[in-house]
Symmetry: C2
Subunit: 292 residues, 2 copies
């Protein structure tokens, strides 16, 4: 059976490097670093993890659920899930309203990563060191499909007549499908396999498509108005792309990359100015973290 | 650009053979045969096709949308979409209430078929003659992912405040994700690549997982009660498996296969006895067709 790993949504680059270099090792250290330095993000992370563990069970047929469990809990971090919760709270929603969507965002990300491993054998290499393949290509393909489906199921199941939240959940499903579909993730991945993404403008395009479409979910679930939704959507887009560019520093293009990061950070902070002073403190700390 | 093909949901085995043997040829003949002999199914088919054509557009980025268009409109037939509409009408719903779900069911099927082509190169061959691969494996993988996402989007977008149908749509999304996920389609496909499915009991298991989970959608959208939903779910399961077994006759195991088909037909008709005489005539004619 695959090792049962905690997810790692912490954007700490050291932790990320660790989890990438050996995806089959537990990343508890990540959580520990977060807990000390950033209790807010640690608590968000912990609640998403609990939700995922409650729902991603190893049950018959084991041949299908074990690889699914493995890929979900060994996926590298992405900013979407934690930002989803923080955005919901920023607009006055309760954390519970966003946890299922945050977990679904992690599942979408994990499924995309699982399928990307298959892409790395098709066309020019886009990642310098793809992770070693644990399962056969067929299992990776089917497991990714199963995780996608379960992500939408988890989200749809969070409907609650007492909260009268069906319309919001359907709107979030539409957001998520667009982010994952041919105008979003799929487009980004396609362009990633076509190019080596050495040029910043191509790299930015790929990152925007892959990272940028997921950031309205928490705001919608928290009951925000359209202006707040758009502000936090753009904030999330900037954070996601900043994050991807920050990781790129390791791969060269330092000067150009740092300039893009600086510009994106500035744009991101500008979006938060819309909110009352002090209210956006928690969510803005993520940006600070992600460009460490 | 990929040829723009009409979908073929007609279960006529001759038409199916044609569309399989040359998936890049238009299958208009299929529709013509249906129109003459079965105006009800022809009209259902035509409305689903119109809905798909309105929503599956070739638009930028063409590199992503063209293969998507191709795979959606060249997928071989499956009984799910037409039965979805018929079940909705049987329980007193209007056809419009089920068309988006029927189109989404076709998209799920088309995406699964697209990914299955990739599986046929992994492990023992499960189909005697896999279709020739038009696109690279990377494109097939990403296109399938994009089609899955769009299927859920199409369904979620069919929410209509005037109809107050959000709860029903969310329930249908849950049904569809389960049918596609690790307990449904993925499990069936996994077992299909593991075995050559020569033994009827394995083949039946695979068919039940792959074909059987999609048949409550139209009934839910038509506003049926739980008993009606369960009856038509089981009817759809029997029809789907009957259909798969009927096609298997060509591949040997004739006697055993015919026995299974006979038993399934009998079970399917039993489910329809629950409905007032005459009301289930349209939907029962599909069973008759599918075992031709």
């Amino acid at each position: 059976m695959a090792a049962l790993l905690p997810i790692s949504i912490n954007p700490n680059p050291l932790a990320k490097k660790m989890s990438r270099s050996n995806p089959s090792r537990p990343s508890r250290t990540t959580v520990a670093i977060m807990s000390q330095d950033h209790p807010y993000w640690a608590s968000v992370h912990a609640e998403i993890e609990v939700h995922l563990k409650q729902h991603i069970l190893v049950r018959p047929p084991l041949s299908v659920s074990e690889p699914m469990h493995h890929f979900v809990f060994s996926a590298p971090p992405s900013p979407g899930p934690a930002l989803c919760v923080a955005a919901c709270e920023l607009v006055g929603g309760h954390r519970d309203q966003a946890i299922a969507a945050a977990a679904a965002l992690h599942l979408m990300h994990a499924a995309a990563v699982t399928h990307e491993q298959l892409l790395s054998t098709d066309g020019p290499k886009t990642k310098p060191k793809p992770r070693p393949m644990v399962h056969s290509p067929g299992i990776e393909l089917l497991t990714g499909d199963g995780i996608f489906a379960f992500g939408y199921e988890l989200l749809a199941k969070s409907m609650d007549p007492a909260q009268n939240n069906s319309d919001r959940i359907l709107r979030v499903i539409i957001e998520m499908t667009r982010a994952m579909g041919s105008q979003g993730m799929v487009d980004g991945q396609y362009h990633e396999i076509l190019t080596l993404c050495k040029q910043s403008r191509y790299y930015k395009y790929v990152c925007e498509k892959k990272e940028g479409g997921f950031h309205a979910c928490g705001t919608i679930l928290g009951g925000a108005g359209e202006e707040e939704i758009e502000r936090l959507r753009r904030y999330g887009l900037c954070v996601g792309v900043t994050r991807a560019f920050s990781n790129r520093v390791e791969e060269g293009n330092e000067m150009e990359t740092m300039e893009v990061v600086k510009e994106l950070r500035s744009l991101a902070l500008k979006e938060l100015e819309f909110f009352h002073e002090g209210k956006a403190e928690a969510i803005s700390s993520f940006l600070h973290l992600s460009s460490l």
